[in-house]
Assembly symmetry: C2
Homo-oligomer: 371 residues x 2
């Protein structure tokens, strides 16, 4: 294998596939990136068995293809080497015995490669009718929900994002059982079958890092136990989480006794300040009180002090409810409009956060009982 | 005590004094910042016993002084609270029993304060003839030397920067016994006495963070066991390290067998790339070879691979010498010109780095013996 390529092109593609590099390193070859050079171009692949990424660099973006072939190169080293080489043409050549030579005019790196036969088949399948979503919207959907997934491996299903599609309605849902984030999106096409899958949140956050700020679409190819995302020259495949995702529809109340509109920024800053006098040990609990036209946020750490934040609102009801300031702050960050609506029933019913300008997004936080 | 002050003014001063807050917290009152309000203005002080900082806000920068007095407030909380309050006037009031009330129109924080009598006397003395150095030059001197101090508490003296003044020549020196950084500076005045002190490097790096990018001078008031820096409205006092700093003058050779000029940037990048194939366990050792007009940098990690970097230079000598790439990169970062000169004798003599455009700066690195 031998070819000459511009640094920037190779580096961008290496950065993308490197997101699938195994840090656990159980299978030595999976700490490497597979280079596969044909007359059509260069494929780069990496996998940690749960997540696989492959990119393709077309021959028109390669300066010179001298000899086709393939090799696996240590991911950690090849990415850093290419990053630190000067912006110029880089010559990559594999000699006998899997020795890789990476050179520019002044630099010459010799790395021990691995036979590409040892690299597992990634089985990156596409199906005929992928679901197509605008790249920017897809990124927004993940960012508005993924923070609410659980990080505890004791309930593995809750570490994933639940994607449900019925007809043309996509519903993306995350919950760690203390809070819930739900985002709806109307697809351009209607599906014949109902889809209900759980995708590891961790992998979706890696995917979001790869997406750039353009108007390209992203394709979702869904299979029984895996899903393949196709975006520009990138194939990104993750396994699905097995099991039945909890039914949460009945968690979100249909009617509310108390409804208060607040400015998002003002409300965020109140909670943020009140959270200074909370403790993680006590779930960062703060108290919200409605007293006619006043919304009062307070928290109290007897050994340090207490804080009271007041905001004028339109309201006639009385309510006292406690919740995690950390969860509230994270939920509020998912909105981008100027105003939000806080919806309550009693102090033991879920708190719902909605926005008139983003009706497809719902955030739910369970209250904390304070005695 | 009661006064009203603009958020930005209070926050800037709190940020400066908070650099002396004790993280170890052995003496509870030292986790606090002392507020002392007189008719002349507000003093803020903090100390971890080794480092003490005091700032003064003149009455003209305070919106309203309502009642003089003093109190100690938990540093961690007061800084975060003021940071998160909106940009507006903040009212601070101490009630009976050392209760502190911090309020703006919508927010009200109540903190438990500490009696200011418990706060130790910081004894911030000035002397009559301080040494005066331009703020920017002082910052440069510290940044060019402090990185070479030792981080190992087993040789406490080497964790400090050695300041020597003889007549009008200031010499600042750092060494961890494997490398040495030395910066000379000619003072505006000549001193009658010789000064030879060692200042904790850690504290000088905190001081540098406080210095802004203006043309103000910094004053050094040197005492037997401490030094006080005065900069604008800030007093910054640190204890000195006790003991006799090693004499290192004879370490820097006076003549050299080999002298090579290189472009700083090119040489830095060569070392930086070669360092990719070094290991911390082996002191990040790389090899430099001079073969007539070629300077070759190489390193080798048998299980990973090896690298060779070449640069054309004007030279007639032969030399092979090994050293730590980490130390070399740190030494090179202290220069700002385009070119540097590398000075060698044999492979067991110190390597010296100088620059024609910055003759007051000398970097020394000991070679590593490779068998």
């Amino acid at each position: 294998m031998q070819f000459i390529i511009k640094k920037e092109i190779l580096l961008e593609n290496l950065n993308n596939v490197s997101k699938a590099l195994s840090s656990k390193n159980l299978i030595p070859v999976l700490s490497g990136i597979k280079f596969e050079l044909t007359e059509q171009g260069l494929s780069l692949s990496a996998s940690d068995t749960e997540l696989s990424i492959k990119t393709f660099i077309d021959k028109k973006d390669i300066e010179k293809i001298i000899e086709t072939g393939s090799i696996v190169i240590q991911g950690k080293y090849i990415v850093e080497i290419i990053r630190k080489l000067p912006s110029s043409n880089i010559n990559i050549e594999v000699n006998d015995g899997f020795k890789v030579n990476i050179s520019t005019s002044g630099s010459e790196f010799h790395l021990n490669g691995i036979n590409s036969n040892e690299f597992p088949d990634l089985d990156l399948e596409e199906n005929k009718e992928p679901i197509i979503i605008n790249n920017k919207i897809f990124k927004q959907i993940i960012n508005q929900t993924a923070f609410a997934t659980s990080t505890q491996e004791s309930r593995p299903l809750l570490t994933g994002l639940n994607f449900k599609i019925e007809n043309n309605l996509l519903e993306v849902l995350a919950t760690d059982s203390y809070r819930l984030a739900k985002r709806d999106y109307t697809l351009d096409i209607s599906l014949a079958n109902i889809i209900n899958i759980v995708i590891p949140s961790r992998n979706l956050l890696e995917l979001v890092k790869i997406l750039t700020d353009d108007e390209e679409n992203i394709e979702m190819h869904i299979f029984n136990n895996k899903v393949l995302f196709k975006y520009k020259n990138i194939l990104f495949q993750t396994r699905l989480l097995n099991g039945t995702y909890p039914v949460t529809n009945n968690l979100i109340p249909e009617s509310f006794l108390v409804e208060v509109d607040v400015n998002l920024n003002d409300f965020y800053n109140m909670i943020d300040r009140a959270s200074l006098l909370t403790s993680e040990k006590e779930k960062n609990t703060i108290k919200l009180e409605l007293k006619e036209n006043l919304l009062i946020i307070s928290s109290n750490q007897p050994e340090i002090g207490y804080v009271e934040e007041k905001l004028e609102v339109k309201n006639k009801d009385l309510l006292t409810i406690s919740f995690s300031s950390k969860y509230m702050l994270e939920a509020l960050k998912s909105f981008s409009g100027d105003d939000i609506t806080l919806l309550f029933n009693t102090d033991i019913n879920p708190i719902i956060i909605k926005s008139n300008s983003e009706t497809s997004l719902t955030q739910l936080i369970l209250p904390i009982k304070v005695y």
